[in-house]
Amino acid sequence: MAEVLVELGIAFTALAVAGALAARADQSVIPAYILAGVVVGPYPPRSLGPLDLTLVSDLEVLEVGAELGVVFLLFFLGLEFSPDRLLARPTRLLGVGATDFLVNFGVGLGLAALFGFPWLTAAFFASIVYISSSAVVTKSLVDRGWIADPESDVILGTLVFEDLLIAVVLAVLTAVALGGGGVGAVVASVGTAAAFLSALAAVAAYGTPYVQRLLSVEADELFLLFAVGLTTLVAGEALALGVSEAVAAFFVGIAFGQTDHTHRLEDVVGPTRDLFAAVFFFSIGLGTDVTAFLDVGALLAVAVVATSASKLASGVLGGRFYGLNRRRSLRVGVGLVPRGEFSLVIASLAAGAGTRIPRADELVSFTVGYVLAMSVLGTVAMQYVDALTAFRGGAD
């Protein structure tokens, strides 16, 4: 027990230090958390001169924490998901979202084909490069002050569309990956997933009064336990049935988001999400062997360039679609470049499915390198585009 406690202590301390450094450098914490895991984990770098850096082994408790991290990341995605926003200007948003999907998912499939990935792995690969990071993007928008300008509406609208689509993609991919062998098994498992998720969706749509009553408890600690308990239970049951626990949590989040407890959930459950999400990024880092980056180096380099370009292009198109001028449209493109938590969620899903997904290890190492590169590149590009397109209107 003492060893486990010490290792956990080291893990959390490493996370805290990495997060503090990232905040100081004006960067997203996500890559910092991964790097913390890489440094103190069992894979190289193993030592710094005489200093032994292999401090944390792959603890089972961390794996559980990481799993909860995925569940709560998706739970919050559902909680913040605003159907009204999607329905406010459906045609426009659909146009922007579809453009974003077709261009970027298409480029992803093309790249995967180019590097000879089998079709199921290619589908995972395309999803990984398609989905932007809500966390990194939203934080950058607030930090840069773009949040007050029209381009943020387009960026956030696109993210809402991506969130919904990724839930669908995750549901299908999980069903296929966990469904095992033949076509019959796949059909059965997709059917199970569809039934389970439809039931959850029905609760989200029509069960609001019941959910509302369930969460109406006075004490914050009971409220926290109810929310965490329900979410984890539904996610666990989903996984037991071969349905994506992440998507199940997403639907639970949507159901909770329909009540007027949303703010309280954000306040009370937010810290829980932060803790477990950090553990998730850390455990991704723990399992990362940086020497494996060399094996996927060519793919990484090509993907970083190609997918940045494709996000930029689809973003500019989307911005024009919303009637924004060239400068603002360019910002939409740049704003959608960062990739982060969801790419990692998809990669960890691929890793979890084991041998059923060919070349999954390669996919995971690629994703870690890709997220590290893209989250930093995305935030830097945002600063750079500001300098490039700075404009102050009005007569001062």
Binding site: F81, L141, A148, D149, N325, R392, G393, G394
Partner: protein
């Protein structure tokens, strides 16, 4: 007044207040209560952040903006809501027929229907003057009544 409201997923709500044409004030209210206030001078311009306040500060500062502590008064538009009644000031000139007569004597109340609230004489104000109060040149009669009643009174005290 036009206000545009949008939901900002993961952040809070955004309000845009039209100041003048394209010039807009943008208020971002975060879920944690923090307020950020920006100004966008034209549709093409970038928003400049003016300031940010926490929830408590924003509420307090908001009452200042609302004029809860101090409202400048524009005397031209002062309206005292008294139904149809209005308050008017009538100067008693030296040639006025009411000079030297008491209020009841010249029948202010009886003939006009207006009530005399006060009579101002120099620096003094006699509130609710009695019926036998004698009017003098230079007095100012403060009366409450409808527009017609005030007009009748004005005719009565006119030179």
């Amino acid at each position: 007044m036009t206000v545009y409201e949008t939901d900002v997923p993961g952040v809070g709500r955004k309000f845009e207040y039209e100041v003048d044409g394209d010039d807009r004030l943008v208020v971002l209210i975060h879920h944690d209560g923090k307020r950020e206030v920006f100004r966008r001078r034209s549709a093409e311009a970038d928003s400049e952040k003016l300031f940010e306040l926490d929830d408590r500060q924003a509420r307090e500062f908001g009452t200042l903006l609302e004029g809860a502590y101090f409202q400048p008064v524009d005397l031209d538009t002062v309206q005292v809501p008294l139904g149809d009644g209005i308050i008017q000031w009538h100067d008693v000139g030296s040639g006025s027929p009411v000079v030297g007569r008491s209020l009841s004597d010249c029948g202010v109340r009886r003939r006009t229907g207006a009530s005399v609230l006060a009579v101002q004489r120099g620096d003094e104000t006699v509130a609710n003057p009695p019926a036998d109060f004698d009017l003098d040149a230079g007095d100012v009669i403060v009366a409450l009544g409808t527009r017609d009643e005030q007009q009748t009174l004005a005719d009565l005290v006119a030179d």
